[in-house]
Symmetry: C2
Subunit: 194 residues, 2 copies
Amino acid sequence: MGRWEPDARDRLVRAALDLFSEQGYENTGVAQIAERAGLTKSTYFRHFRDKREVLFGGQDELLELITEGVAGAPESAGALTAVEAALVAVAVAFTEERRANGPRRLAVIASNDELRERDALKMAGFARAMKDALRQRGVSELDADIAAELGILAFRRGYARWLETGGDFAAVARRALEEVRVAAASLERPHPSN
Amino acid sequence: MGRWEPDARDRLVRAALDLFSEQGYENTGVAQIAERAGLTKSTYFRHFRDKREVLFGGQDELLELITEGVAGAPESAGALTAVEAALVAVAVAFTEERRANGPRRLAVIASNDELRERDALKMAGFARAMKDALRQRGVSELDADIAAELGILAFRRGYARWLETGGDFAAVARRALEEVRVAAASLERPHPSN
């Protein structure tokens, strides 16, 4: 795919974010994005299925990293340790380029209902991948559901913080997971009298 | 809306589930559903925006009940107690009619990618409503996120169990929430050495 334009993908993402920020997501077309990037529409479609996907690229890579991360945790590891391994495994995808684009990307997504839905489905897909990989390790349905949801909360919080602070995504995400774990363990029992 | 056909909505849902089960969701049209229910297409569209929505009716009512349930919990209640109040509040919507349709409804949703996405978005919407209502009570962002996600897990587990056992949805959902809470509090700490 486009060996002669090694940075085509990054150029398309940057051009799209420029245009979405300047004139709005709704008012921007794929042809315009390609033109701004100095590429053709057909190059665009070799990289992204449609206009929306330029904002959600790399999802398949993250899904794979999550699955491999959970699967690769030591055999003795519990559910949360395996989730932590997934957060560490995805760090390789969180490059400086991704961080530079992050704030504008989030702002565009927040501006549009359809994009917010797409983002919610992406997160649900990540949770599903974590859960399935945990089930493969023999974790119970309930623990896998909970650990995956807490893992996704940590992922989101870690991502937001990493956009601000930079540094190693793995370290930021691990701290976020520990905060989430402590908070989850500290929620009160609904019926103290029971 | 259709006072002269007081049960139009239920008839449309039943007709749709009959047809989806007999011949598949993809092969069924709105006109056919209306015909099977002995109603007109325009009556269908007074009740449901499109074909998909016949499977997701009542979502706005549930969102309101969730918000009111959380808001109506005693002032002293913590996040999980407020979530529990929401699960109790929604029980009024879980009628015998809904239970009778439930298994076929779930089977149709599971059969189709687009419907599974729609269902995931519905659940994300419930989580969001819970979280927002918890934030209104002064619950921290993190605790609100966690309590809402655990609440939705309890909601889903409670719903699945209630379809099997029947009885009072509130009681089933409360038991599910307690199970989720106990499991969440029991997840291991990832780094015992830290």
